[in-house]
Symmetry: C2
Subunit: 386 residues, 2 copies
Amino acid sequence: MVGGGQLARMTHQAAIALGQSLRVLSAGPDESAALAAADVRIGAHDDLAALRDLADGATVVTFDHEHVPTEHLRDLVAAGTRVAPGPEALVHAQDKLVLRRALAEAGEPQPAWAEVRSAEDVSAFADAHGWPVVLKTPRGGYDGKGVFVVPDTAAAAELVERHGTLLAEQRVAMVRELSAQVARSPFGQVAVWPVVETVQRDGVCAEVVAPAPGLSDELATAAQELAVRIADRLGVVGMLAVELFRTADGILVNELAMRPHNSGHWTIEGAVTSQFEQHLRAVLDYPLGSTAMTAPVAVMANVLGGAAAAEDWAGPGLDERIHHLMAHWPDVKLHWYGKGQRPGRKLGHVTALGKDPAAVRARAVAAARYLADGVVDPAFAFPTEH
Amino acid sequence: MVGGGQLARMTHQAAIALGQSLRVLSAGPDESAALAAADVRIGAHDDLAALRDLADGATVVTFDHEHVPTEHLRDLVAAGTRVAPGPEALVHAQDKLVLRRALAEAGEPQPAWAEVRSAEDVSAFADAHGWPVVLKTPRGGYDGKGVFVVPDTAAAAELVERHGTLLAEQRVAMVRELSAQVARSPFGQVAVWPVVETVQRDGVCAEVVAPAPGLSDELATAAQELAVRIADRLGVVGMLAVELFRTADGILVNELAMRPHNSGHWTIEGAVTSQFEQHLRAVLDYPLGSTAMTAPVAVMANVLGGAAAAEDWAGPGLDERIHHLMAHWPDVKLHWYGKGQRPGRKLGHVTALGKDPAAVRARAVAAARYLADGVVDPAFAFPTEH
C-alpha cells in the first residue's frame, strides 16, 4: 500500500486476520502505519524507484491516498505489476475535471460545472449559475484544501492567476451530505454498505452516522445503485466512496475516493465486513464479505487535534485522557493512530453502536471531544443508553 | 510480549487500535506474530538476555504462553521491569501442582488430586479414587501434551520413572467442559465474559460456543465468581481463563491460562471488547472495556492442519480454499495465522455469529472443516440461517 497514514494502519490490521501482511510505502518512520506494519519501506509516493521497490514481489499495489502520479502507475502496470484500482480508474479520484467529464458523459447527477482558465470564464459561469461560485483545484486537494468559495470576479481572477485551470461548480443548496460506499472486485462482484450521513466541519469529516437517519429507502437504494454504476463504469477495483450532496430534489455527486475512506471507519465494528477487509478482499480478488450491520446504528466521530494538542496545553495528557475515555465510555471503541499531536490533525476516531441514533451520536461525540479538547461538553456529559 | 504465536499476532492487531505497537520476542522470523508486528526480536523465551532485551524500554512485559522460567521473571522484576501477570501469579498457570495446592488452600472446587513420586503413591491414590488415574506433568504441557490416562500400577511406574514427580488426578465423570474468562487490572478492576462451552478433540480445543448452551444462570454466575475469586486471590494482571469440568454436581477447576486463550477467540467479533484488547488494557493499567456480546450466539471453530495440510494433498490449495470459504460463507470471519501448514497444527480459526446455536455452530464447523480438509461434510453443507 502506497502511503503510511491511518488508512494503511487500519488496512494492516485487517490484513492480519486474512493471514496477510501489508507492505507499506511510508514517507517516514513515524507515520501511522509505519509504526504498526511489519514490512515498511521509507520513500516518497511520487518517486518511481520507491514505487518499483514497493511493487517488487508484492501481489498487488494499492493506495491509502490519491496522490501517486498517474504516469508512474502506468509505468508499474507496463512492467507487469497489478495495480488496484488501476490508473485509468484512479484518475477519476485524482482529477476533479476528469471526474466531472466522465459523470457528464454517463449522465449521472452532479452540480453544474465548467472548466475555467480565466476570470472571464468564471464570470460567464456565474452569469448562468449565480454567485458565489465554488472553485476547485483539479488535483491535490483533500479535507477542504484546494476548495474556494468565490464571491466575485476579482476573487476569481486571483485564484485563476495562482492556480491556472480550475473546476468551477455551482454552489449547491445542500440539505446534508451523504456517502455511498461500494467495493468491487476484478471479477466484477460488488458489495454496498448502508448509505451514511457525513457531518463536515471546516471541510473536514467530523462525524458519520450509519445508516443516514431518516433517509428514504428509495433514495438510499438510488445512492447505492449510483455508486455501483460508477464503480462498474470506471472499472474500480477496491473500495469506492461516492460523496454525495443531498439537495431538496435528490442527490448529486460531490467527489470520489478509491480507497478506504473516513466515511467508512464505522464498518470496523458496525458491519460484518469492514471497509479495510473488503478493500483487501477486492484488490486480492477474493469474494467479498457480508456488509450487514452488526447493530441498528453506528456513529463514528473523528478526533481532530484540539485544545489538548496545543503546545501550551496544561490539562490531562493523552494517556490520562484515554484512561478517562475508557472509564467513562466502556462500550465506545477507540482507534488511535499513533501520530504526533497537532491542532487540526486527524489523530484517531471513536465508534459507538446502539439503537437510538441521537443517543449513540451523543456518546460518540462526547468521547471524541473529550479526547480532543480534554473537557466534557456539559451537553454531552457521559450520556448512556439502556 | 514473550512468544510469537497467534496469540501475540492477534494481540498486536488489538494494540494497533489503542495507538500501541507490540514488541514481540519470537523464536524465529516465520512465527505467526513475527510476520505481522513492527518490532520483532528473535530469541528464545528461556534466554534471560533475550528477555532483558525485550524488556528494555517496554512499558510492560507480558506473555503469549506460560513457558518462561519463573526465575527469569523474578530477575526481570528485580531489575525494575513491570511483568504482567507477575511471576508469583503466573506460576499457578505454569505448575499444575502449585495450582492444586493453592486451590485446595482456598477451598475452591477441583478434582481429587495428589503429588506422586512413585508407583506406590499412584496405587495408593487409586485405592482411594479408583482407576484409571490421570497423571500430568506439573510443567510444560499444553493441548493435551503431558496428560496421561493411566489404567494400572505398571503404566504409572513407567511414567513416574520417566517424568519424576507428577500430579495425580481423579478421572472426573464430566458432562462437558466450560471456560470462564476474566480480565483483571493492577487496580483490581475485573471484567467477565459470558461462560462458554469448549469442545475438545484429542485434547485440543476444536470449538467454543458462547454463551454455553443451556447453562443455568446460577451455574454461569458461580463460574464467573469463581474466576474472579481466583484472579483476585492470585493477583492476576491481564487475562485469566479458568478451564472447568462440568460434572453432574457442579463445576471443578481443570487448569488456568494467564493470557489470551483459545476459549476467548470468539470475543474478537462476538463481544464489544475482545480478550486481546482487554489483556492490553489490563496489563497497561487502563480501565477495562465492556464485555457485552454483540450477538446472541458466537461460535469459534479452530482450523487444525488436516487432510489439506498433508504433503501428498492434491486437492484445492490454501488460497483456493480461502476463496471458496469466502464465497460460501460471506458472514463467517476468518483469522488465518500465516504459519506453515502441518497436520494437527493450529493454523487459524473462524467465527460465526447469529441467533440459533445449532445453526451458528453448523456454519462455523463447516467452514473450518472445509479449510482444514478441503471437503465439505454433507451434514454441514453450506448451512444458512435467516
